[in-house]
């Protein structure tokens, strides 16, 4: 939400790439809505417990799924009707941009840390390793201009040790919270 430019909410004209992404999202919501509706329709109606048929557990999810399908349909239909010259190129440009690569790197590092390191290593070690790698990757590799290795290394190392120690001590000793 924090952007360098600050447009007022009303002067945001939809970009061609956004219109095409709306089409894809609309189709996705239609499929998701129909899948949830199927799940709600086939959900146990608890007839064996003789509950009122209007209070079956699948009632509200089914209604919401229909609403999602309708909204997805409107989104896709609206996107198809809006002219969007060069929309696909703009969308693929956004997906394969430097910004997207940076976001994907954060996701990758976060997933490796959360799914791989936490649990396999002691929490303090996993945390230190994550902080160190994160800082080094974004300061020495993915930044413009790149920082020299020797300048970032002490900071990355120092912050990794401090974070690992402080988080472990503060949460486990002061707040008595068990860590992963």
């Amino acid at each position: 939400m924090t952007t360098t430019s600050t447009p007022t909410p009303s002067d945001d004209a939809p970009l061609p790439g956004m219109i095409k992404s709306d089409l894809l999202a609309g189709l996705f919501f239609i499929v998701l809505g129909l899948a949830i509706f199927y799940g709600a329709w086939t959900m146990d109606r608890l007839e064996i417990r003789r509950i009122h048929p209007m209070t079956v557990p699948g009632l509200v999810p089914g209604m919401l799924a229909l609403a999602l399908t309708i909204c997805g349909g409107i989104l896709a239909f609206r996107s198809l009707r809006t002219p969007a010259e060069g929309g696909w190129q703009q969308l693929s440009g956004a997906v394969f941009s430097v910004a997207a690569a940076r976001a994907a790197t954060v996701m990758l590092l976060a997933l490796i840390y959360t799914l791989g390191l936490v649990g396999a290593l002691p929490f303090w070690a996993a945390t230190g390793l994550f902080v160190f790698t994160f800082i080094m990757v974004f300061e020495c590799w993915l930044s413009e201009p790149r920082k020299p290795w020797l300048k970032s290394l002490p900071w990355a190392l120092g912050l990794a040790i401090v974070t690992a120690t402080v988080v472990t001590l503060v949460f486990e000793r002061a707040f008595l919270v068990r860590l992963p």
Binding site: P9, R49, C71
Partner: protein, 508 residues
């Protein structure tokens, strides 16, 4: 009336202890720092702090969370003025005039006015909270199952409509997705497990705190790290403490913005950013110095800052009396209240009336703390803004992981956080607002339970949902809201109004 004043006195006295004052000071200061740091928002701060306040006494925990919330909404203005980046979304409108003022060498004046305006805005909202909340709570006692169903639906719809001003459809979709998330797990009427796919951890549903930490924490980290450009900080040389004449120069704008902010706060799920934009737009419309707006208008800055701060007490009105969160951060506060055994809702004024006045007292204390820190700690806060985001975000992600894990101590919640973070980031990139999603998660159970319970009570007859007076009114508002969000309908309605106005002026 006097009961209220006595309880307010009691609330103020309750927190006049060294421990409480210490908590007020650190939590407000932490809030200001979190708000000032781009990428750390008020909602994220409150969600992460819930973990740390877990072992505290309920009143002290809520005190810390509320102070952090107020501090963060104010703290965002500092970044907006000095960097032209809103520290939190609430300060987006502040950048329009705050930054040009800083560029013209009046950074100190801008920071001072932002501080006093935030304080005045909060005070206007506090007065409304103390006056309206008891009345609303009394009225809400008449609400039954049918009304609560409509209120839950109204919350999601209005939040979807107002948080996605350009495209309400995306707001509605976000709201429906949130409601669908709430459908996962054990339902409360027949204790049947829905959409759990045999995963036992899903039996209890998706917890709000990990979902919020993901949608407002991890998603924000991804958003911040995506950008390559770094902003330049403008240094301030002029005086920060404003003159009284400067503060009260635009007194009507201040009062109007305070009232607009409070009203926006009362509307469920519509937060500080909308409050600031609405106040700014209203101030611009009636100002004598319209041409100055966007070029360094003090009036514009005052309107935006008063507007966003007044939302906080305003948002507490439905939060406390109806358990409908007035903003995204208020949704976390509701979750925190439940963790600490406080039940917001119509019965709060019956079971625990002093709690409302304790909230009023907390808001007053945090306003004072905000005023003191805001006007004195200019230089240290400038240092905070210079922390490189590469170093900060790595640490914030660790806090997101610990924050989601600590409450129920299971890795499943960490996976929920990561999932919501990634989905939240993609949705944000496609301009879907997050507030309706969160509101949907918190109101889903209320909506589902009350609809089916209502139908059970009437043996399947849905007519009371439409014939009971309060139900009928909320239902009509919902239908009108949806109809007005359809461009073809709203254009036609507007043209009818313009034509009839034109006819009247032609006749006159």
């Amino acid at each position: 009336m006097f009961d209220g004043l006595i309880m307010l006195g009691g609330g103020l006295a309750h927190f006049l202890t060294p421990m409480s004052l210490f908590n007020i000071a650190w939590a407000t200061l932490l809030g200001i720092v979190i708000g000032a740091l781009p990428g750390l928002t008020a909602t994220m701060g409150v969600a992460l702090l819930v973990t740390l306040t877990y072992k505290m006494a309920p009143d002290q925990a809520i005190l810390c969370l509320m102070c952090l919330y107020c501090g963060a909404i104010y703290g965002g203005s500092r970044t907006a003025i000095l960097l032209s980046i809103p520290g939190t979304p609430a300060s987006a409108a502040t950048t329009l005039d705050g930054h040009p003022l800083a560029l013209s060498g009046k950074a100190g004046t801008a920071m001072g006015l932002a501080t006093t305006s935030s304080a005045i805005g909060t005070v206007v909202g506090i007065i409304a909270l103390a006056l309206i909340a008891p009345l609303l709570a009394e009225a809400a006692l008449k609400f039954g199952t049918y009304e609560f169903f409509w209120l839950a639906l109204f919350g999601v719809i209005i939040s979807g409509q107002l948080t996605a001003i350009d495209d309400p459809l995306k707001g509605y979709i976000a709201g429906i997705l949130g409601l669908l998330v709430a459908m996962v797990g054990m339902e409360t009427l027949h204790a049947h497990q829905r959409f759990t796919f045999g995963i036992s951890a899903l039996g209890g549903g998706v917890d709000l705190i990990p979902a919020m930490v993901g949608a407002f924490g991890f998603a924000e980290i991804l958003g911040v790290m995506k950008r390559t450009a770094q902003a330049r900080i403008i240094s301030s040389g002029d005086r920060v403490i404003p003159r009284l004449s400067e503060v009260f120069q635009y007194k009507w704008t201040t009062i109007r913005s305070g009232l607009i902010g409070t009203f926006v706060g009362i509307v469920p799920g519509v937060g500080e950013d909308v409050g600031a934009w609405a106040s700014y737009a209203a101030a611009k419309r009636v100002s004598k110095e319209k041409h100055m707006f966007g070029k360094g208008s003090q009036e514009g800055l005052i309107a935006a800052e008063t507007g966003n701060s007044a939302v906080i007490p305003g948002a507490m009105i439905p939060t406390l009396t109806l358990a409908l969160p007035g903003s995204a951060a208020a949704a976390v506060l509701i979750a925190a209240m439940f963790i600490h055994g406080i039940r917001p809702g119509p019965l709060l004024m019956v079971e625990n009336p002093e709690f409302l006045y304790q909230i009023v007292a907390i808001l007053l204390f945090s306003t004072i703390a905000m005023l003191v820190f805001g006007l004195t700690l200019t230089k240290p806060l400038l240092t905070v803004l210079q922390v490189p985001r590469e170093r900060l975000m790595a640490v914030v992600y660790i806090l997101c992981v610990v924050g989601s894990f600590a409450i129920t101590q299971r890795m499943f919640d960490v996976y929920v956080m990561v999932g919501f973070g990634i989905i939240g980031f993609i949705l944000r990139e496609m301009k879907y607002p997050m507030a309706p999603l969160v509101l949907g998660i918190i109101l889903g159970d209320l909506l589902d339970l009350n609809l089916r319970r209502g139908l059970l009570l009437t043996n399947g007859d849905p007519s009371p949902f439409f014939t009971r007076p309060i139900s009928a009114v909320i239902c009509i508002i919902i239908i009108l809201t949806i109809l007005m969000s359809i461009p073809a309908v709203s254009t036609r309605v507007r043209s009818i109004f313009t034509r009839s106005r034109g006819d009247v002026s032609a006749q006159g």
